[in-house]
């Protein structure tokens, strides 16, 4: 008999590379993924850009590093890494981008594994999960 582990649900709202909230959110998701906890993420507002497939790394002339040396953090890479880790550890990362937020931001090219949804999906994720953490954006 297969037992389904209870999932944790997260809401993210910040656009990429704008806030420490996103960094900490990724750290939390990483902890959960490494523990094999099934994870649900509802990306709202600017957070729908986090898995955007067209993000590109760059060099850093101030530090004298090439593109490869700089190895710049890309949110889409983090999302993909979390999906891979979750899978490997026996869990899963279900990432839902709020569809209207995607439309108004032109973010319609996410990495593989990201699906489009609405706040109804968020509510369904929340009721199906053991607990939910909302990390809202700020002025």
């Amino acid at each position: 008999m297969t037992t389904t582990r209870p999932s944790l649900n997260f809401v993210l709202m910040d656009a990429p590379l704008e806030s420490a909230r996103t960094t900490t959110a990724f750290r939390l998701l990483d902890i959960a993924a490494r523990r094999g906890i099934p994870i649900k993420v509802f990306a709202y507002e600017g957070a729908v850009m986090l898995p955007y497939a067209r993000q590109q790394p760059h060099a850093n002339a101030v530090h004298g590093t090439s593109v490869e040396e700089e190895n710049h953090f890309l949110p889409r890479t983090a999302v993909a890494a979390l999906m891979e880790t979750a899978q490997r550890q026996g869990g899963q990362l279900d990432w839902v981008n709020c569809g209207l937020c995607v439309d108004e931001r032109g973010a319609g090219e996410p990495i593989a594994g990201v699906r489009r949804g609405s706040p109804v999906d968020f509510w369904q994720q929340a009721t199906a999960s053991l607990n939910t953490l909302v990390i809202a954006t700020r002025d």
């Binding site: 968020f122 509510w123 002025d139």
Partner: protein, 126 residues
């Protein structure tokens, strides 16, 4: 599952979004059957004020035809049966008296907040 939404961020991108996106989300999930109550605190207590007006953004030849109507959205939540609370101390700090508020908004004293939170299965701070 009874949920408290706490909102303290106010007028952040509301003109561009043509909504407060948290009030909007609250309306969506309430429509999907969520048992939710809304607590306005900090500057967001001003969302409960009657007479808020956005005349519509105009950028070049483009004119906004659907400006945000926060007061309408507060009233809509109340009409749907969603309790809308406003932290009494934050209202007072901003010089807001009961007669300035949308009918049905309920001031909540900070001292009563712990018990109100404990009555909810989830508390989400937006």
């Amino acid at each position: 599952m009874k949920v408290m939404h706490i909102v303290d961020s106010a007028y952040r991108a509301t003109v561009e979004e043509q909504d407060d996106t948290t009030l909007w989300l609250t309306q969506v999930i309430a429509g999907a059957g969520a048992q939710v109550e809304l607590l306005l605190r900090g500057n967001a207590v001003n969302y409960a004020v009657r007479g808020q007006r956005v005349e519509g953004l105009a950028i070049g030849a483009w004119r906004q035809t659907q400006p945000p109507r926060i007061e309408r959205d507060i009233a809509a939540l109340l009409a749907r049966g969603v309790p809308v609370l406003a932290l009494a101390e934050d209202l007072a700090q901003r010089g807001l008296k009961a007669d300035a508020l949308v009918a049905g908004v309920e001031p909540l004293r900070f001292g009563d907040l712990p018990a109100r939170m404990q009555a909810c299965a989830r508390v989400w701070h937006w």
